[in-house]
C-alpha cells in the first residue's frame, strides 16, 4: 500500500478525513461524464444503480409495473398481485439461501407466523379469534414481519451448529411443528378446514377490498407493488453492504469467513432474522385478496414453491427472486392456457393429462431444466443477454 500524503493513510476507510483545502464530500465522488467504468470512490462502485442504463431501465420497469393495472383484466391482475407478494417472500428466502448459503425448507412456517401475527394484530377484538383491533396497515404488515423475525431468531442458533442437508432437515421439522401448532391453536387460526379472516387493508379510511373508482384488484396490486419495491430496495441494500459481503463469505466457505473475522453466529442470526422478516411481511399480505385462510396453506409445498422461485429466478439476486415469483405465480394460469395450444391436455379434473397435473409437472421440469441448463436462473439468462451486448462487437 502506498500513500500520497500522510493524511491519506488514516483516511483510507472513511473518506471523510481529507487534506486541508479539499472540496466538500459531494464534489469528490462526482462521476466523470461519459465514462461508465471510471469509479472515483467505492460509493459509486457499490451504488445500487451504478450505471445510467440501469437507472433508466429500473425506472422504466417501475413505471410500466405501476401503469399495468390500467390495461390488464382483473383476474390476471389478481394473479400478478399474488406474484408480487410471493416475490417479497422469495427475496427473503434468497437472502438466506442465495446470499448466506443456508438451505432452508422452513420458509412456509415463517410465512405462516407472519400471516397469523398480522391477522391477530388487525383482527376484531370482539370476534371469535384472537384480535387486537389495530387495523393500521403498516402496523400489521410490520407486526407480521417482526413476529416472524422473532421466530427466525429462535431458530437461528440451530443453524449455527448445522449446515447443508442437516439444516434442511431441521427446517423441514419446523414446517411440521408449525403445521401442528397452527392447526391446534384454534383461538388463533380457526383450526383445520375453517380458517380465519385475513387483515382488512384499510388505508385512509378506504377499504382496498371494495371496488370504487378503481377495482379491488387494482388497488391491492398497487399496495403490493409499493411494499415489494420497499422490500426489494431494503434487501438490495443489505446485500451490497457489509452484511451482504459477510453473508457471501459465510456462503462460500464458513470456516474461511470465520478466519477472516466474520462472526458466524452473528451473521447466520442476521440472515435468519432478515429472511424471516420478509417471509412475515409476505405472509401478512398473502391472503388479503382472498379474505380467509386456513392452516393447511403452510405446508412443505409452499416451502418448495419458494425454493423453486429462488432457483428459477436466480440464486443470490433480488431481481431474480421477483422474476421467479412472478413465473411461479403465473404457472397455474400458463398451464390453464395450455389446452388451447396442446389439445391433448384437458382442463377437466377427472381426465388425464389435465392442467393441474401439468402444473405440478411444470414445477419439477422447470427446476430440473434450470439447474441443468441455466443454474443462474432467469437472472442468468438476462446476464447472458446483457453480456452479449456489453461485449459487442467482441465476445469477451
Amino acid at each position: 500500500m502506498s500513500t500520497i500524503s500522510p493524511q491519506r493513510k488514516s483516511g483510507q476507510r472513511k473518506s471523510a478525513q481529507k487534506p486541508e483545502g479539499t472540496a466538500p464530500e459531494a464534489r469528490r465522488s462526482r462521476r466523470v461524464w461519459g465514462r461508465p467504468d471510471l469509479y472515483t470512490s467505492y460509493r459509486q462502485d457499490m451504488a445500487m444503480l451504478n450505471t445510467r442504463p440501469k437507472q433508466l431501465g429500473v425506472l422504466a420497469i417501475v413505471v410500466l409495473a405501476a401503469l399495468l393495472p390500467l390495461t390488464t383484466s382483473d383476474d390476471l391482475l389478481k394473479i400478478l398481485g399474488t406474484g408480487l407478494v410471493l416475490a417479497i417472500g422469495a427475496i427473503g428466502l434468497n437472502l438466506l439461501v442465495g446470499y448466506a448459503g443456508q438451505v432452508s425448507l422452513g420458509h412456509a412456517f415463517f410465512v405462516g407466523v407472519g400471516a397469523y401475527a398480522a391477522s391477530a394484530i388487525a383482527g376484531d377484538p370482539e370476534g371469535r379469534y384472537i384480535g387486537f383491533g389495530i387495523d393500521v396497515v403498516p402496523v400489521w404488515i410490520l407486526g407480521g414481519g417482526i413476529a416472524a423475525a422473532l421466530a427466525g431468531a429462535l431458530v437461528a442458533p440451530i443453524a449455527t451448529r448445522l449446515r447443508g442437508l442437516y439444516l434442511a432437515i431441521v427446517t423441514l421439522g419446523l414446517v411440521v411443528i408449525g403445521g401442528y401448532i397452527f392447526t391446534e391453536w384454534r383461538d388463533l387460526s380457526g383450526g383445520a378446514q375453517v380458517g380465519r379472516e385475513a387483515p382488512q387493508p384499510v388505508i385512509l379510511g378506504s377499504d382496498l377490498t371494495r371496488d370504487g373508482a378503481f377495482t379491488q384488484e387494482q388497488k391491492l396490486y398497487w399496495l403490493f407493488l409499493v411494499v415489494l419495491i420497499i422490500s426489494a430496495v431494503l434487501a438490495r441494500n443489505v446485500a451490497r453492504s457489509r452484511i451482504g459481503r459477510a453473508l457471501a463469505a459465510v456462503r462460500d466457505r464458513d470456516v474461511a469467513a470465520g478466519v477472516m473475522g466474520v462472526e458466524l453466529g452473528k451473521y447466520k442470526l442476521i440472515a435468519f432474522v432478515l429472511s424471516s422478516f420478509f417471509a412475515g411481511v409476505c405472509g401478512s399480505l398473502l391472503f388479503v385478496a382472498n379474505g380467509v385462510f386456513g392452516p393447511e396453506r403452510f405446508t412443505l409445498l409452499l416451502s418448495v414453491q419458494f425454493i423453486a422461485m429462488v432457483l428459477i429466478g436466480g440464486v443470490a439476486t433480488i431481481s431474480g427472486s421477483i422474476m421467479g415469483a412472478m413465473l411461479i405465480a403465473l404457472l397455474p394460469r400458463i398451464s390453464a392456457e395450455l389446452p388451447s395450444f396442446l389439445p391433448f391436455i384437458t382442463s377437466a379434473a377427472n381426465e388425464h393429462p389435465n392442467i393441474f397435473e401439468v402444473e405440478i409437472a411444470l414445477y419439477g421440469a422447470l427446476i430440473v431444466m434450470f439447474l441443468l441448463f441455466e443454474p443462474r436462473g432467469l437472472f442468468g439468462i438476462w446476464v447472458r443477454i446483457r453480456t452479449y451486448w456489453k461485449s459487442f462487437p467482441f465476445s469477451y
Binding site: 502506498s2 483510507q12 462487437p393
Partner: protein
C-alpha cells in the same frame, strides 16, 4: 495563458510548469489534477492538493540540503509522486533526472554517477536494491527516498534512506520554520535554468543526458498548446490523458507532466503497462499518445477479439471492417478528411459498429491521437483512421524538446511525420539529407559532454538529428531512417531497414524485425514472433507448445511468418526484398542488452548475439 514573446526578455521566468500549477491551484482548487488507481478505485487529487504537496516536497528537498542546480533522480513507474517530486525539484531550481524502471543496476550506476544526483527516489525495494548495489559509483548521492514501504521498512540499515511520508513530514516542518522559501525560489528561476536531464536511450554507446531548460519547456508548451491548434478547443481542464509510458522519456514527460501542468489536462496513471487496455476502457481519454508498439498491440487485440467472437458477431464485424478499410483508404487519399461517401458510411456505421468498437478499445472519447518516438507502419494508421480514430504521426526528439514536425488534422500524409510546427525551422542537409531543426526548444547541450554537444548543434544553432529525411510534396517531411542504420549492400544500394521492418511489424504475428545486410549481397531479417497472437493462432489449430523458444521452432509457425514475409516482399523492389529470414529464439529484452529502455533494438548487440544465425542466412544462400 501568457504569450511567450514577452517572456524571454524578462530577468526571471513567470511562465513555467511550476507557476502554471500554482496559478491553476489558486484558480480552480477543486478541479481534478490527476487520478491514480488504488484498491480498484480511481483516487482523485485536486489542484489544491497537488500544489500543496509540491510545496511541501519542495520544502522537504530544501531540508535535505538541495540547492539550485542540484540533481534529483527518480526511478519509478508512473505515479503522482513522480510528478510531485519533478515539480518540487524544479520549484527549488533543481534538475530532475528520470530513470527507466527497467534500467538494470549497471545503468542505474552510470546514470546516477554521471548525473551526480544528490537525492534519488527509488519507488520500491527492487529499484532501491539497484541503487544500493552500485553505491561505489554514486559518490554524490546523499539521500535515498522510497515510496512503497513493502520489504523496505525495518529491513535496511541505511542512514541515507527515508520514506516518502518522512520526506513530507520533513517538508511540513521546514515549511513551518521557513514559510515562503519555496515560493521565493520559484520567483528567482532563470530561463536557462536546467530543469531536467533527459538521458537518451543510446543505441550506441552510453546514454547522453540532454539538458532542457525552462526556456525550452516554455517554448515547447507555447508551440503545442497556443500556436498550433491540433484540436479545437485546445487541450484544457476537461481533457483526460492516460499516463503509462516511461515518464523519463521526453514524449511521455511532455504528454503527462507538461500537458498536466501547462494546460490543466487531467492525468490518469495506469496501474501498469499490462493493464493499459483495461485502464483505457475505464478512462476513455480524450487525448492519447502512444508509441507504435502500443498502436500495433491495440490493432492486434482488436483483430484477434473480432476473429474469436461468436459466428454472428464475426460476420457482422467482417462487414463493417470492410467498410472501415474503405473509409481508411479514402481518408488516407484525402489527407484525413472525409468525402461525402465516407462520411455517410461512417455515420451509419458509427451507431451500429464503430462506436462500440471504439468503446471496447477505450478510444471512443479520443479527440486527438498521435503516434511518435518511432516510425509506425502506414497500415496501422489506416486501420485506426478507418474505425474513426485518426492517429497523427508526429516527430521530435529529446534534443529539440520533442518539437519538430507533426501531421495536422485534415492535412495528414501517411508515411510522413508531417509539416514543421509553427515557430520551428526544419531543413534538410544538402549533402547527407540529414534533418536539421532550429528553434528556442533546442536543448542546452549534453550534460558533462561538450564534445557530443558540439557534434549535435552546429555554429548556426542547427540541431543535427541524425535522421535522414526527404520532403514529400514540398510540405511534409518523411523520415527515411536513422543515418547510422542505413544499410548499404555489397551491390552499393542504399536501403532503409526500418521501412521493411515496419511493414513486417504491421502483421499481428510479428513483434520484432531486424533487417540485416550491410555489406552483403542481399537483405535478410531476424524476426521475433508475437507470443500472444501466434500462441492464440497455434491454439486454434491445435498446435501444442510450451515456451516462446518451442513455439518459434515449429515448422507451421515458420510457414506462417514465411507468408508474412512474402506479402511484405511484394511491396518492395527486388533489392529491398528479403531473401531469407530466421526466427529469433527468444524475446528481445532490455535486461539482456538487446533493447534500449525505450524498446528500440540495439543493432550492434543483435549482430553480436545472433551472429551465428545471421551468418547462417548468408552461407546457405537465399532459401526463399
Amino acid at each position: 495563458m501568457t504569450a511567450l514573446e514577452t517572456a524571454p526578455a524578462a530577468v526571471h521566468v513567470d511562465d513555467t510548469i511550476v507557476t502554471r500549477v500554482r496559478d491553476r491551484a489558486a484558480r480552480s482548487p477543486h478541479g481534478i489534477a490527476m487520478r491514480r488507481k488504488d484498491y480498484g478505485v480511481w483516487q482523485e487529487i485536486t489542484w489544491a492538493e497537488y500544489w500543496g504537496l509540491v510545496v511541501t516536497v519542495g520544502h522537504g528537498l530544501l531540508a535535505l540540503g538541495v540547492e539550485p542546480g542540484d540533481r534529483v533522480s527518480i526511478q519509478s513507474e508512473n505515479r503522482p509522486e513522480w510528478l510531485i517530486l519533478d515539480l518540487a525539484t524544479v520549484a527549488v531550481r533543481g534538475t530532475t533526472v528520470g530513470l527507466y524502471p527497467t534500467n538494470p543496476a549497471a545503468e542505474v550506476g552510470y546514470l546516477l554517477g554521471h548525473s551526480g544526483a544528490k537525492v534519488h527516489l527509488a519507488e520500491d525495494q527492487e529499484q532501491l536494491d539497484k541503487a544500493l548495489d552500485v553505491a561505489d559509483q554514486t559518490p554524490d548521492l546523499q539521500h535515498l527516498i522510497h515510496v512503497e514501504p513493502r520489504g523496505i521498512v525495518g529491513r535496511y540499515d541505511e542512514p541515507r534512506l527515508r520514506s516518502w511520508t518522512h520526506l513530507l513530514e520533513l517538508g511540513a516542518e521546514h515549511r513551518a520554520a521557513h514559510p515562503g522559501a519555496v515560493e521565493a525560489l520559484i520567483e528567482q528561476a532563470q530561463p536557462d535554468d536546467v530543469m531536467t536531464l533527459v538521458y537518451t536511450s543510446g543505441t550506441t554507446g552510453p546514454p547522453k543526458g540532454a539538458m532542457l531548460t525552462f526556456a525550452n519547456c516554455a517554448f515547447a508548451m507555447h508551440t503545442v498548446f497556443d500556436r498550433n491548434s491540433f484540436v479545437d478547443p485546445a487541450p484544457g481542464e476537461d481533457d483526460l490523458t492516460l499516463s503509462y509510458l516511461p515518464l523519463c522519456h521526453v514524449a511521455e514527460r511532455f504528454f503527462s507532466t507538461w500537458f498536466n501542468a501547462g494546460a490543466g489536462v487531467q492525468t490518469n496513471f495506469a496501474e501498469s503497462i499490462d493493464t493499459v487496455p483495461a485502464n483505457l476502457r475505464e478512462i476513455q481519454p480524450t487525448l492519447f499518445f502512444a508509441v507504435p508498439r502500443i498502436w500495433e498491440k491495440l490493432l492486434a487485440t482488436a483483430r484477434i477479439k473480432l476473429d474469436s467472437a461468436t459466428r454472428v458477431k464475426r460476420a457482422y464485424a467482417r462487414f463493417w471492417m470492410k467498410q472501415a478499410d474503405h473509409i481508411g483508404a479514402v481518408l488516407v487519399e484525402n489527407g484525413g478528411s472525409h468525402t461525402v461517401g465516407t462520411r455517410i458510411r461512417y455515420a451509419i456505421g458509427w451507431p451500429l459498429f464503430f462506436r462500440a468498437l471504439q468503446s471496447r478499445l477505450g478510444l471512443r472519447r479520443v479527440r486527438y491521437a498521435s503516434s511518435g518516438a518511432a516510425p509506425i507502419a502506414p497500415d496501422v494508421l489506416r486501420f485506426f483512421m478507418g474505425i474513426g480514430v485518426k492517429v497523427h504521426e508526429v516527430y521530435g526528439m529529446t534534443e529539440n524538446t520533442a518539437v519538430a514536425t507533426a501531421n495536422r488534422p485534415g492535412r495528414v500524409k501517411l508515411g510522413t511525420v508531417g509539416e514543421p510546427l509553427e515557430g520551428a525551422e526544419v531543413r534538410l542537409d544538402d549533402q547527407t539529407g540529414e534533418v536539421l531543426t532550429r528553434h528556442a526548444g533546442n536543448f542546452a547541450g549534453y550534460w558533462r559532454n561538450p564534445e557530443a554537444t558540439a557534434q549535435a548543434v552546429d555554429a548556426d544553432g542547427w540541431l543535427h538529428t541524425g535522421d535522414v529525411g526527404t520532403w514529400v510534396d514540398g510540405t511534409h517531411l518523411a523520415i527515411t531512417d536513422r543515418m547510422k542504420d542505413i544499410i548499404i549492400t555489397s551491390g552499393g544500394k542504399n536501403v532503409s531497414p526500418s521501412e521493411i521492418e515496419n511493414a513486417l511489424k504491421a502483421s499481428p504475428f510479428v513483434k520484432e524485425a531486424v533487417v540485416v545486410g550491410d555489406g552483403r549481397k542481399y537483405l535478410a531479417a531476424l524476426i521475433g514472433i508475437e507470443l500472444d497472437t501466434v500462441g492464440e493462432w497455434a491454439q486454434r489449430r491445435g498446435l501444442g507448445f510450451t515456451t516462446y523458444h518451442d513455439l518459434s521452432r515449429k515448422p507451421e509457425v515458420l510457414e506462417l511468418v514465411q507468408g508474412v514475409v512474402k506479402e511484405v516482399n511484394a511491396q518492395f523492389s527486388s533489392v529491398e526484398q528479403l531473401k531469407d529470414f530466421r526466427l529469433l529464439p527468444k524475446e528481445l529484452d532490455h535486461e539482456d542488452g538487446e533493447l534500449t529502455a525505450t524498446q528500440k533494438v540495439k543493432r550492434s548487440a543483435i549482430n553480436q548475439i545472433f551472429g551465428e544465425l545471421i551468418a547462417e542466412m548468408y552461407t546457405t544462400g537465399g532459401a526463399s
